[in-house]
Amino acid sequence: VPLPTDMNDEEFAKNYLRKLYNMQEESKSSFGHKISEMSLKLGEMQEFFGLKVTGTLDAETLEMMKKPRCGVPDVAA
C-alpha cells in the first residue's frame, strides 16, 4: 500500500533514481498524456528487485532504497 512519504523521503528517492536508474526529468509526454518519469523509474526499480510493481514510493521500495549498495546503476543508461 502506498504510504504518505515526507519530502525528505521523496527527495531521497529522486536522487536514488537519478543516480541509479538514469531518471532525467520529472515527466514526459506519451500519446498526449503526461507520464511521471519517477513513476516509470520506480516501476523499473521495483521490477529489478522483484518487488511488487506499483510505480509508487511505498514502504517496501523505500526500505530497499535505503539498503547499503554499490554505486553502479542497476540498468544500463
Binding site: V72, D74, V75
Partner: protein, 170 residues
C-alpha cells in the same frame, strides 16, 4: 562515462592492478589480502590472471576516496553507496573506488567487509552488470556472508564465464 554497466570485456586475460592508497579502518596487510582474495574469486573460475604493480597506470586502479572525487559519480557519506567501478576500457575503465566514509572490515560483520565489496566491484571492472538474483555476488545490495567459506554463486560464475570462458587449469 558512468561507473560500471558495461557489456565490454578486456581483450587480454592478463590484467594489472594497483592499490593507490589505503583506508585507515584496516591494516595495510589486511587491505592487501582482501584485494588479492577478491581478485582471485574471479581468477579461480576464468583464465584471468592478475598482477600487482606498485607504480604507473594499472588496468585496475584501486583507491579509497570520499565525496566528489573527480569522476562525476560522487560518494554520499556513511552508508548508502559503498563503492563503484568502471567497466573494461582504457583510462578510467577498470578503476575501482571505495567510499572511505564507510567503515571497512577484514573479517568482522560490523561495518562493510572489504573483501565482499571489492569482489563485487571487480565483477564490474571485468565487465559484469548487476544481477537480479538476490543471492548473486553481483546483486547491487550489500549482503554480509561468511568470508572464510565464501564460494562464488553459480549465477556469477555463469556470467563471468560467458565473457571469458572457464579456468583452463581446472
Amino acid at each position: 562515462y558512468t561507473a560500471g554497466s558495461s557489456s565490454n570485456k578486456w581483450s587480454t586475460n592478463k590484467l594489472t592492478y594497483r592499490i593507490e592508497n589505503y583506508t585507515p579502518d584496516m591494516t595495510v596487510a589486511e587491505v592487501d589480502v582482501s584485494i588479492e582474495k577478491a581478485l582471485q574469486v574471479w581468477a579461480r573460475v576464468t583464465p584471468l590472471r592478475f598482477t600487482r604493480i606498485y607504480s604507473g597506470v594499472a588496468d585496475i586502479m584501486i583507491s579509497f576516496t570520499v565525496g566528489e572525487h573527480g569522476d562525476g559519480s560522487p560518494f554520499d557519506g556513511p552508508d548508502g553507496l559503498l563503492a563503484h567501478a568502471f567497466g573494461p576500457a582504457p583510462g578510467l575503465g577498470g578503476d575501482t573506488h571505495f567510499d572511505d566514509d564507510e567503515t571497512f572490515t577484514f573479517k568482522s560483520s560490523n561495518g562493510y567487509n572489504l573483501f565482499l565489496v571489492a569482489a563485487h566491484e571487480f565483477g564490474h571492472a571485468l565487465g559484469l552488470d548487476h544481477s537480479r538474483d538476490p543471492g548473486a555476488l553481483m546483486n547491487g545490495i550489500y549482503t554480509y556472508r561468511d568470508v572464510d567459506s565464501f564460494v562464488l554463486p553459480q549465477d556469477d560464475v555463469n556470467h563471468i564465464q560467458a565473457l571469458y570462458g572457464s579456468n583452463p587449469e581446472l
